[in-house]
């Protein structure tokens, strides 16, 4: 599939970002990848249960988009949200502990893999109802506008969410009220086993922005700088009061839909093609080619994040489970 957007944004980002920033982008992606690989291992070993949807392959989207945000900006995500949560600054320890169902988990073991949340980080939650996060994100953006705040909301969802009524309703309300929100559709071509062309009557998903009179762009979701650049533009627009945008990030999940899906509906060939476009390898290649980093430095980062993830597993493993005394409690604030 041809990407219609040219790469000048990515190129521009490469030129304007400092070396430390470029390495930071690399580090974040590497952290997510290692985290997800470890999560897969822990799932296989029975430490993690329930549904576990990994983000491996899609790191450039969360990292690139969230890098365009300030800390005070909000993120809303789906059940495939480990990456977004880590990119927003969550401590891998409490994320892994949540996957382990421990009381030290970011959602106190109540949420699990699909329901990470941190109010302080303004990571406003992973939601397991496809399309469910969009209205909430519009509401957060409404609150910002109401308070005349400078923040924006970045709302992630999959190609599978596009046919949901909530998509249309939320884009309409956001456009009508010029809410400060960036909708990021992670088009990884599949919703479970369903190809996007069997779910949406239009394959160029960004075109769904048109009737609402808001900008719609397609970016290379395997290129962290392209995602970053496009999100910067959309965020600036939202922050200036010019309303929402829709970004379609074309990407690919390297694993099955969840840990229990062998992904038999995809061809080995297709998987190989996309693996060659691995966002982390791509970034590494580019940093080396453009001489913005050395092999040694990047290896060091990989080691570093590996250690961080190992520590997170240790923390999660040693943490206690929530107490049975809590049973039936915590349902109401009051």
């Amino acid at each position: 599939m041809a990407l219609e957007r040219d790469k000048h944004t990515a190129q521009h980002a490469l030129l304007t970002l400092h070396e430390a920033q470029l390495l930071d982008l690399y580090r974040r992606m590497a952290l997510i990848r290692h985290f997800e690989e470890k999560a897969a291992e822990m799932y296989t070993r029975g430490k993690i249960t329930g549904f576990c949807h990994l983000y491996a392959g899609e790191e450039a989207v969360a990292v690139g988009a969230i890098y365009a945000l300030y800390d005070k900006d909000y993120v809303v995500s789906t059940y495939r949200e480990h990456g977004h949560c880590l990119a927003k600054g969550a401590d891998p320890r409490v994320v892994m502990a949540e996957l382990f169902g421990k009381s030290t988990g970011i959602s106190h073991g109540h949420g699990g893999s699909m329901h990470l949340f941190d109010q302080d980080l303004r990571f406003m939650g992973g939601y397991a109802i496809v399309g469910g996060g969009l209205p909430l994100a519009a509401g957060l953006a409404f609150a910002i506008q109401y308070n005349e705040g400078p923040e924006v909301v970045c709302c992630f969802f999959g190609d599978g969410a596009l046919p949901q009524g909530a998509f249309h309703e939320s884009l309409n309300i956001a456009a009508l009220w010029k809410l400060p929100i960036v909708f990021i559709c992670e088009n990884n071509f599949y919703g479970m086993g369903t190809l996007v062309q069997n779910a949406v009557s239009q394959e160029e998903l960004y075109r769904f922005a048109e009737p609402y009179k808001i900008p719609g762009v397609r970016v290379d979701g395997m290129d962290v700088l392209d995602v970053y650049g496009a999100t910067m533009e959309a965020v600036a627009r939202a922050r200036e009061g010019d309303g929402p945008s829709l970004i379609e990030a074309v990407t690919y999940r390297f694993r099955g839909h969840s840990m229990s899906d062998p992904g038999e509906y995809r061809s080995k060939r297709e998987e190989r093609i996309w693996q060659e476009r691995d966002p982390i390898k791509t970034m590494r290649r580019r940093l080396l080619t453009e001489k913005r980093a050395t092999d040694a430095k990047l290896d060091e980062i990989e080691k570093e994040v590996e250690a961080v993830v190992d520590d997170a597993v240790k923390f999660a493993d040693e943490s206690p489970e929530p107490s049975l005394d809590e049973l039936g409690k915590g349902v109401y604030v009051e």
Binding site: Y74, H108, H110, P135, F142, A143, N172
Partner: protein, 324 residues
């Protein structure tokens, strides 16, 4: 104290809370320029402006979801769903989101939203516009359910709802908006959740009810008085929390209970209330709890049929007679 209508009482509660707390805002279809389909929000737009009195497109799912998001973002939304029938479009946001978020995220998120909506039949609006759906919300931990019958409670409970940090489903009744009653203008007078009101004392029989059926219950109690039966009438005010203590205290005294509700009989809130009465006061009961409710049918348009489907004072009297 002034004699005002249920509608005005709600309007007053909204004004007072809008005045008290900058974070409170009202959102819904026709709440602004139109003043609300039932005129509950009449006049608010002129005072508070479009920022705080927000007309929305017809998008119940997203209006509700946006209210939840706004609540998570620090505001205190009062979302009006024009009638409860349309809440069925928003069930995902209500049940899967509003009710779950606080618990599911380990207690760190809160959703202080009020979803106001009129319900009920009696106006020949047919099957899609005459439902009473409190049972759905009662069967959903994480939600509070307030359901006032009187103007004073309409005001006091709505104020409490707005100040509560949990999501509240606030159910009004289309037939009650014109009902008048004494309402305090004390801006700090709240009616607490979970405190039923014994609106009539009696020793022979307990009639447990809420919302519009309260009036049928009172009327029935008056008719029963003529038959020498002294009925106590309890108005629940909120279904979650449910004030079982007050119910049980009454039933212990009278030995008989009738639960009156406008929802369909089967699976309605009255089934739960009856079950709890049995569980708490089995040995005090002289007869099985009677349930007086709507027939299990979609609402017919024809007025005579509709009247026969809905529970009435006459049905309550008959139930009392059945109990001997």
């Amino acid at each position: 104290m002034a004699q005002i209508s249920y509608r005005e009482a709600l309007n007053q509660a909204l004004r007072e809370e809008l005045d008290r707390d900058e974070r409170v805002f009202v959102m819904g279809e026709e709440v602004g320029y139109f003043g609300g389909a039932f005129k509950v929000t009449d006049g608010l737009l002129a005072i508070y402006g479009e920022k705080r009195i927000r007309d929305t497109p017809i998008s119940e799912l997203t209006i509700t979801g946006a209210g939840i998001g706004a609540a998570m973002g620090g505001l205190r939304p009062v979302v009006e769903l024009m009638t409860i029938n349309f809440s069925l479009l928003a069930m995902d946001q209500i049940v899967n989101h509003a009710a779950k978020i606080h618990f599911m995220f380990g207690g760190k998120a809160k959703v202080p939203i009020v979803i106001r909506s009129p319900q009920g039949g009696g106006h020949q609006l047919g099957a899609q516009h005459s439902q009473s759906l409190e049972a759905y919300f009662l069967h959903c931990p994480g939600l509070r359910v307030a359901i006032p019958a009187t103007p004073a409670d309409a005001k006091g409970l709505l104020k409490t709802a707005i100040r509560t940090d949990d999501p509240v489903i606030f159910l009004e009744h289309e037939s009650l908006y014109g009902v008048k009653g004494e309402v305090s203008d004390d801006k700090d007078l709240l009616v607490p959740f979970g405190k039923a009101n014994v609106v009539r004392e009696g020793k022979d029989l307990t009639i447990v009810s809420y919302s519009k059926c309260l009036y049928d219950s009172i009327k029935a109690a008056e008719e029963l008085e003529n038959q020498g039966v002294d009925a106590e009438v309890v108005d629940l005010r909120t279904l979650n929390p449910l004030d079982l203590d007050t119910i049980v205290k009454s039933v212990r005294k009278t030995g008989k209970a009738i639960v009156v509700y406008e929802g369909w009989r089967t699976g309605g809130a009255g089934a739960e209330i009856a079950a709890q009465i049995y569980e708490a006061a089995f040995d005090d009961l002289d007869a099985p709890v009677e349930r007086v409710a709507s027939l299990d049918t979609p609402m017919p348009y024809n007025a005579r049929l509709e009247r026969a489907v809905l529970p009435s004072a006459g049905d309550i009297v008959k139930a009392a007679e059945r109990m001997g």
